[in-house]
Amino acid sequence: MSALTVDWDGTDVRLSDVNNALAKLRAESAAEGAPPNLRTSVMTHLAWIPEAWADQARAALAGMAERHPSRSILLFPEPDAGKNRIDAMVSLECYSIAEVNRLVCSEVIELELLGTRAKAPASIVEPLLISDLPVFLRWRGEPAWGAQELEQLVEIVDRLIVDSTEWDDVPYPYRRLAALFEQTAVSDIAWARNSRWRHLLASLWPDIADVATIRVTGTATQAWLLCGWLRSRLDRDDIALEHVPAERLVGIELDGKPAPFPPGDPPLPSDVLSEELDRFSRDRVYEDAVRAVA
């Protein structure tokens, strides 16, 4: 539960202003005479958030700091702003720890990158990374394939997290995504959301080995990722996909026979993101599934 939030904001800032503000907020957050609050971080969490995704991105952050004490750096690019500068808002969110009379603080840095300052985001982020800790990048919407912004950020992160549900025209973008697999580990929230369905389908082994067609009623992303997973796991590229569009995954048929519905509720978006932030290594199964439909 959030015990305390302190803020600072600035227009046309230098990154040293941001660092100074963080230091000041940390000092201010401790009660007079009390020991300082702990700055606890297990990672730097970057997010690239085009304007259309701002609200959803902030909502997904809610509660995450408590589970993953981190420095979150939210980048809001506005290349067409008509002025070239960085505006910043910095906040320190402190949480009480049960049975310990101390607060643990996480830092959130929101940077609006206006005009040309949106062109080289890695040079903006690097001075703010916490040394020696992993860096995760959540890219909202479809990545700008081939753009220098993406290339630069991928260079400095340990893991890129996307949600291919946010993309148009799947499966075509998967080819571009697959090209990044050798540069950085990649997580796809759409893939994580499908996990209970994959567990269920896996339980149908060995009968599933000869399946010819998978019919998925759900989003195109869900359909292609499940098909790719089956193709790659069974090492068969002849499995056909039939996709019935729906807003969420409501059913799967294998050669015309409905698969049973998996138990439990679908996970919350913040839970899915949280789970991805605990992963470090490459997800070879996911990579194979993407390559199978790319």
Binding site: I86, R117, A120, S123, P127, I130, S131, D132, F280
Partner: protein, 465 residues
């Protein structure tokens, strides 16, 4: 001046003192005070308090003179003697020389000649650069020792005045847990980074002749290395500490050409803004071969550190301003966990942040709460700003105060400077034989690719940022 103001705020200056500004520029006491007031208002770490400033300002005088002129030094001497008499200062003097190298001998000679006629003490603060190579440093030392005792000379390296640098001594020698593992048995390697994101800031004249090796490596970096690698001194006196630092500098062996990398920045991005290449900076030759980056692998040939590499790097237009000393310990010999459980685990690193965010961090592996055994690296941070609810003194405050007290512990001794230059000269000599393709790194990156190769060849990598 901001440092003197900070000392004044804290009542650390003597009850009777005077500050005399000396330069060739025409001016008077009032103009000098106004200039200094502006500087203090702009740069002091403390809130500007008019009464404190007035108290300081009434002790300030100015004299315009040129030591090259006939009797130029007499003008200064006359004023200082007058002030001395008025305020009963006991003829004690600190001369702070922030002057171009060409006029240095003349000024030292003039001050030295006159000091013998006074009863009080004389101390000389000497700013870098202290020489350009070993020969010139020896000349300067000879000049100084002709007129002054070593205890009267305070060669300033402001890094040594930083709290975190001094904390390195506290960390090592006041904590029983570190010193037993501070050696080749437990330390895999050490990385020292002195990174600046700024360019040369209009100092082309100086930088073109200095380069990164003389600007940073010869002084700041070797001092950090010496403090990291030195043996425990028997006490904390100036001589004991400096004796141990000199031993480390003598133990450093000259790195071969394959163990040194130099670079020069090309165009790139800093904080999202495009910045020019070094050769495009005003005053820099279009074909300049001055290095703005140096990376090196150094070894100290002694029992404590034999075969333990010290990877050092320093440069301009790197992605962030950061000075750190990272002690990377050897990995646990046999982690009894599944390979996948420790994928996020990195070796233990004790990281001393010299600037910014002064403090110390220890990276340790910890179990992620929940089912199973997932281990990841977490940081235990001690940040000066958080732990001690008091402002950090600027390096110059400490160093000026130490000079007033006659404590030379945090200043560089003549033999230290000469050992530093000896190493630099031998590295630079090897550079005469090759001509690297400059620029070889883009501004906003961590140096040339060959710097990565330098550590990758040993199966290691530069610490990530």
């Amino acid at each position: 001046m901001p440092a003197l103001y900070a000392l004044m705020v804290r009542r650390l200056l003597p009850s009777r003192f005077a500050i005399v500004g000396v330069a060739r520029t025409e001016g008077d006491d009032e103009a000098f005070r106004n200039d200094m007031k502006e500087t203090v208002q702009k740069y002091a770490r403390d809130e500007f308090i008019e009464e404190v400033w007035n108290e300081l300002a009434e002790n300030m005088r100015y004299v315009a003179t040129d030591f090259a002129d006939e009797g130029g030094e007499d003008k200064l001497e006359e004023l200082v003697e007058r002030v001395d008499e008025e305020r009963n200062l006991g003829a004690n003097r600190v001369y702070y020389l922030a002057v171009p190298p060409v006029v240095f001998p003349m000024i030292v000679d003039a001050i030295g000649q006159r000091k013998g006629h006074r009863s009080g003490w004389t101390r000389l603060i000497v700013e870098k650069p202290f020489g350009h190579d070993l020969a010139s440093a020896r000349e300067l030392n000879a000049l100084l020792t002709e007129r002054f005792d070593e205890s009267e000379v305070f060669r300033i390296d402001h890094y040594l005045g930083k709290e975190t640098v001094q904390n390195m001594l506290a960390l090592r020698f006041a904590n029983g847990i570190f010193e037993p593992i501070w050696n080749r048995q437990f330390v895999d390697h050490v990385q020292i980074t002195v990174a600046e994101s700024i360019g040369i800031e209009g100092r082309a004249d100086y930088y073109e002749s200095a380069g990164a090796i003389r600007d940073i490596f010869q002084n700041h970096l070797l001092q950090l290395l010496a403090l990291t690698a030195m043996e425990p001194p028997i006490d904390f006196t100036a001589e004991s500490v400096r004796n141990e630092k000199v031993k480390v500098l003598r133990a450093l062996h000259t790195p071969g050409p394959k163990s040194v990398v130099r670079g020069q920045y090309g165009r790139g991005y800093i904080e999202g803004e495009e910045v020019p290449a070094y050769r495009e900076e005003q005053g820099v030759a279009a074909d300049s071969m001055t290095e703005t980056y140096v990376g090196a692998k150094l070894y100290a040939d002694n029992w404590r550190w034999a075969d333990t590499p010290f990877y050092v790097r320093m440069g301009k237009r790197l992605p962030r301003r950061e000075t750190t000393i990272a002690i990377q310990f050897k990995r646990a010999p046999h982690p009894p966990f599944e390979e996948t459980s420790a994928e996020g685990l990195r070796p233990n690193v004790l990281l001393v942040h010299v600037q910014p965010d002064e403090g110390v961090s220890l990276a340790i592996g910890a179990k992620v709460p929940g089912q199973g055994m997932q281990i990841r690296t977490v940081h235990m941070d001690f940040l000066y700003g958080g732990a001690f609810r008091t402002g950090m003194p600027e390096a110059y405050e400490r160093l000026i105060l130490d000079t007033l007290l006659g404590d030379g512990t945090l200043f560089t001794r003549a033999d230290e400077v000469e050992e530093q230059w000896l190493l630099v000269d031998s590295m630079v000599a090897a550079w005469q034989r090759d001509r690297p393709g400059f620029p070889n790194y883009a501004a906003g990156t961590w140096g040339p690719p060959s710097a990565d190769d330098l550590v990758h060849r040993d199966g290691r990598s530069w610490r990530r940022h």
